[in-house]
């Protein structure tokens, strides 16, 4: 037999046939893995020549979402201790609701428009929408605070929510800007430079002093040479200005604050010593502020708020690495002070990225903690309504080397909806707004790309798309309260 093989097939052919046979055999080998050894844990990924061949192109139509979620969760490597069938049921129940909630929209218009789901007992959504509608008649501005993680860092998404709302309802100014920020050069909206500050974040809560923590999530301690400058970027030829700039700080001793507005004369402020939060208010047609300080002992800076008197403002309070759980560290007194100086009508919580980790689908601890966090914040900010913005899509490579939605994300979306229900606030499904399953992969391969190649973070262009969806859902609600009350179609 071997002789026949050798005479009819030359060396190269025999080599390739043998290699091919070996590879096929290897794809049937049992899974080899080792866990918790000196070298760590590892599972050998198998050669799967046939997976390249099989083409499973599932259509991502929203109506099939039910089936797909069950399929994904059923077929994935879930390494949790909670009984799988229980989790599947929970998750698919809540996601079935998501589909129902959105179905009337998909019937109304051809676009997938994601509705705000109001689980509050105090009609938060209608109240929010009414005040938005009446903003022009009102003398005080409306503020929406986005608390999030690196997903919205560098003003991603919030910049576009801001400009859309401001073009509809008025308002000028980027709102809150922290004293320093690692992503400051990435912001498109302002030129922000700083030097000589030490930053403390709520994520490093062991190092930070909790009495200085509130919504912004950071506080900054200056050295004698500390400086901070903000300049509004020109949009085309237009130099945008705003009418008010407030520096927020605590002055425990006798710090002197020097500021130049619009590169003009230096103004000096010597605020009274106090352990409470204070502000230095500058007014006029402001496009740039430059701060420097003397006698910095006992001084703690938070940030600057740039706005106008009327209109809508969107503040971005993002903290890299935060899961939302660390919001339990915020200080009550400081929060009250903060609320009286910069009152937020809406707080949007955009978290989940740093929680939805591979192989974990049991988020009951996270759920309990977040419900407690929201209850606590509700107490500190009594006149504020809360919106939970669900986690966005995130993709990982599957066995056939394609980028697919992590099943843990789908579980997380379900959990966040439940948090909204239990904490009685509003929920908005970011995952659906992106396009649902595998939308992150679409974002990355889009031309121009809408997300970074880590398949986790969107970029400014992607943020704009999601912002459009967010604001149009909001505007739809505004239109809806104009109509006569309709019967519940659910």
């Amino acid at each position: 037999m071997k002789k026949v093989f050798k005479t009819h097939f030359d060396k190269v052919t025999r080599l390739l046939l043998l290699t091919f046979t070996l590879l096929i055999l290897l794809s049937y080998m049992p899974e080899i893995s080792w866990r918790d050894t000196v070298l760590g844990s590892y599972t050998i990924k198998k050669i799967n020549l046939t997976s390249e061949i099989k083409k499973e192109r599932l259509n991502s139509s929203p109506a099939l979402l039910d089936n797909m979620i069950d399929t994904i969760i059923g077929s994935q490597r879930v390494a949790s201790t909670v009984s799988e069938s229980l989790l599947e049921d929970e998750v698919s129940e809540t996601n079935k609701e998501a589909v129902k909630a959105n179905q009337s929209e998909t019937l109304d218009k051809n676009l997938l428009s994601v509705r705000f789901e109001d689980y509050s007992t105090t009609n938060d959504l209608s109240r929010l929408v009414s005040s938005l509608k009446n903003i022009e008649k009102s003398d005080s501005p409306m503020r929406i605070a986005f608390l999030g993680d690196s997903f919205i860092e560098a003003d991603i998404l919030t910049a576009d929510v801001r400009s859309l709302l401001q073009s509809n309802y008025g308002g000028k100014g980027v709102g809150f800007i922290p004293i320093t920020s690692p992503a400051s050069k990435y912001r498109y909206t302002i030129d922000h430079t700083f030097d000589g500050w030490k930053a403390y974040s709520m994520v490093n809560y062991k190092e930070a002093d909790w009495k200085y923590l509130t919504l912004p999530g950071f506080y900054y301690v200056p050295s004698e040479k500390a400086t901070m400058s903000i300049k509004n970027k020109k949009i085309g030829k237009e130099q945008t200005t705003c009418r008010s700039a407030k520096l927020l700080f605590i002055n425990e001793k006798n710090t002197e604050i020097n500021v130049r507005v619009n590169e003009g004369e230096v103004q000096t402020f010597t605020p009274p010593s106090s352990p409470r939060m204070q502000s230095v208010d500058l007014t006029g047609d402001i496009y740039s502020v430059d701060f420097s300080f003397k006698n910095v002992a006992g001084f703690v800076g938070f940030g600057t708020v740039l706005d106008d008197r009327k209109g809508v403002y969107v503040d971005n309070y993002s903290v890299r690495g935060s899961s939302g759980v660390v919001l339990s560290t915020v200080d009550q007194l400081l929060s009250n002070d903060f609320d009286s100086i910069v009152h937020s009508d809406v707080i949007v919580l955009q978290y989940g990225l740093n929680v939805a980790a591979a192989h974990i689908t049991n988020y009951s601890y996270y759920k309990r903690t977040m419900v407690r966090v929201i209850d606590k914040l509700r107490g500190y900010f009594p006149n504020t309504c809360f919106i939970i913005m669900g986690v966005g899509d995130r993709a990982m490579k599957d066995d056939a080397n394609r980028y697919e939605t992590m099943p843990e994300i789908i579980a997380m979306v379900g959990v966040q909806r439940e948090i909204a229900k239990e904490a009685k606030c509003i929920f908005w499904d970011t995952f659906m707004a992106m396009g649902g399953r595998n939308s992150m992969a679409t974002y990355v391969s889009h031309n121009p790309p809408l997300a970074h190649k880590d398949y986790t973070h969107i970029n400014h262009a992607g943020g704009k798309k999601i912002a459009n969806a967010f604001v149009s859902s909001l505007l739809n609600e505004v239109e809806r309260i104009d109509d006569t009350p309709r019967t519940d179609t659910r």
């Binding site: 060396k11 046939l17 290699t19 091919f20 590879l23 020549l49 992503a183 790309p449 190649k453 973070h457």
Partner: protein, 494 residues
């Protein structure tokens, strides 16, 4: 039951724009095994061999570019006929016109597909903008096979080779699948003599072929793809989000990535051709070991740079028209060489940068004579020159890779703003995989040629079973890296 299997196999044979055929895809393994099986039976019949490989290559091109197979066939027919006309022609004027027709056809095709949007877009920018780019799909490998076909026409025109009588042989030469899609650009005078020689695959060739295929795959999948997805791409996407040190590492990473990507694919092409009994010239010769830019261009993408030298630089006059003209020719050649890589201003800047460096190097060699030195000093000088040359090349890569001039300047600014050495341990901890691969890559690159030859010889001596096992283990390793999860973003304080 078999219906589905049969229909999915048939579906596989169809062109799928979302999964074009490449050497590192699963389908290619099946393809190559089937090709070799058939080849085994016909390889001793020279005529049949050309026909078979031509058909196989056409199918390969169809699987990578679909309907653009027609363009390939058109170029082949056109240049085949033109070459015949040229050689039977005695009037040099008419001969020149035929050559012009060939050049215009090839360059015209290339320009239409590759540069229309770029050209029209740039023009419209000058006049106020508002140009909407056309949806022109680029046929895969068009930059390579047009250049290859032109080398044939020009060589026939100059009388350096005789035109082929058999169109199948010519079609085989242009379309031969290992080099069709990403080079090397094979010269007619190097390949055509091989078309009529009997098939001979020695153990040496098998050893070298297997070595090149394995090392090519390793370079492309394990090094290049991994460090690009998990690191380099992110830096170039948003340089301002990263510190100077990370940007610098991104540049070093890219220099390695592009070398591994390009040379890996070339190596696989050369290796596959060897297994079929054909010899291609080496395309990359450890270019980062160069101690000068001139040397770099003798070691980097050799088939392209020698094509540009022989057919563009020399045709423009080379160094035979006086000093100034020499430098002009040099610059022009490099600018066009840059543009060949892609339709964007960053490629032109890259070409100009290398043109400038080459010109300066030429001046240096003219006026600065090396003096006799001790061995140690010579060695140190060479190492210093290598490091300098490498960094000059890296500066070029910043422009080459950036999606816009703006991005390139951002990277240079970030690096220029200083390198914070405190970040290095953090970086090493956060990007262990990427850093290890970068170090491994450069160390392997620095090894002398003897090591490659030693490995090839070693493989040549093995029997088939051992070789098959070695290849399978390699494939297993490659799969581990290829399917690995994407590393998450790492953030550092800076």
């Amino acid at each position: 039951m078999w219906q589905q299997e049969i229909s999915s196999i048939l579906h596989l044979l169809k062109y799928d724009p979302l999964q074009p055929l490449m050497f590192n895809s699963g389908f290619f393994i099946y393809f190559f095994v089937v090709v070799i099986l058939g080849y085994n039976f016909i390889k001793n019949d020279i005529k049949l061999r050309s026909l078979y490989l031509m058909l196989v290559s056409f199918f390969f091109y169809y699987k990578s570019s679909g309907v653009f197979l027609a363009i390939l066939i058109y170029i082949i027919l056109s240049d085949f006929l033109i070459a015949r006309k040229m050689s039977s022609c005695s009037d040099s004027k008419i001969k020149k016109q035929w050559l012009l027709l060939s050049l215009v056809t090839n360059i015209g095709m290339l320009c239409y597909f590759k540069y229309t949007n770029f050209f029209l877009g740039s023009m419209s920018e000058l006049f106020g903008g508002g140009f909407q780019p056309f949806d022109i799909v680029l046929p895969v490998g068009i930059s390579f096979f047009t250049f290859q076909s032109m080398s044939y026409s020009i060589d026939v025109y100059k009388g350096k080779i005789q035109p082929l009588n058999n169109p199948i042989n010519y079609a085989f030469y242009v379309s031969f699948f290992p080099q069709l899609v990403a080079g090397p650009i094979v010269r007619a005078r190097d390949f055509i003599p091989q078309i009529t020689r009997p098939t001979l695959v020695t153990d040496q060739m098998i050893g070298k072929g297997v070595f090149l295929i394995i090392s090519g795959l390793f370079k492309k999948v394990v090094i290049s793809d991994y460090i690009s997805v998990n690191f380099v791409d992110r830096i170039f996407d948003a340089p301002n989000l990263y510190s100077g040190f990370e940007n610098l590492m991104g540049v070093y990473g890219y220099a390695l990535q592009i070398y591994c990507d390009f040379s890996g694919y070339s190596d696989m092409a050369i290796g596959i051709a060897l297994l079929l009994g054909f010899h291609f010239c080496i395309n990359f010769d450890s270019p980062y070991q160069s101690a000068s830019i001139t040397e770099f261009w003798r070691r980097w993408h050799i088939s392209l740079s020698s094509w540009l030298k022989d057919y563009l630089y020399i045709s423009l006059g080379g160094n035979r028209k006086g000093n100034i003209r020499t430098y002009v020719n040099l610059m022009l050649t490099m600018l066009l060489g840059g543009l060949w890589h892609g339709a964007s201003v960053v490629f032109i800047i890259w070409g100009a940068w290398h043109g400038l460096l080459l010109a300066l190097d030429k001046l240096r060699m003219k006026y600065i004579q090396p003096c006799a030195r001790s061995n140690m000093r010579q060695f140190i000088t060479r190492v210093a020159n290598t490091v300098i040359t490498f960094h000059l090349v890296c500066i070029g890569w910043i422009f080459f890779r950036s999606d816009s001039l703006n991005t390139a300047l951002q990277i240079l600014t970030q690096i220029g703003n200083g390198i914070n050495s405190a970040l290095i341990p953090q970086f090493a901890a956060g990007y262990t995989g990427v850093l290890s691969l970068i170090i491994i890559g450069y160390v392997l690159h620095a090894l002398p040629k003897r090591c490659e030859e030693f490995a090839s010889q070693l493989l040549a001596k093995q029997n088939i079973s051992t070789l098959a096992i070695i290849i399978s283990i390699f494939v297993l390793i490659i799969i581990q890296v290829r399917s690995s999860e994407i590393m998450p973003f790492i953030y550092f304080r800076f």
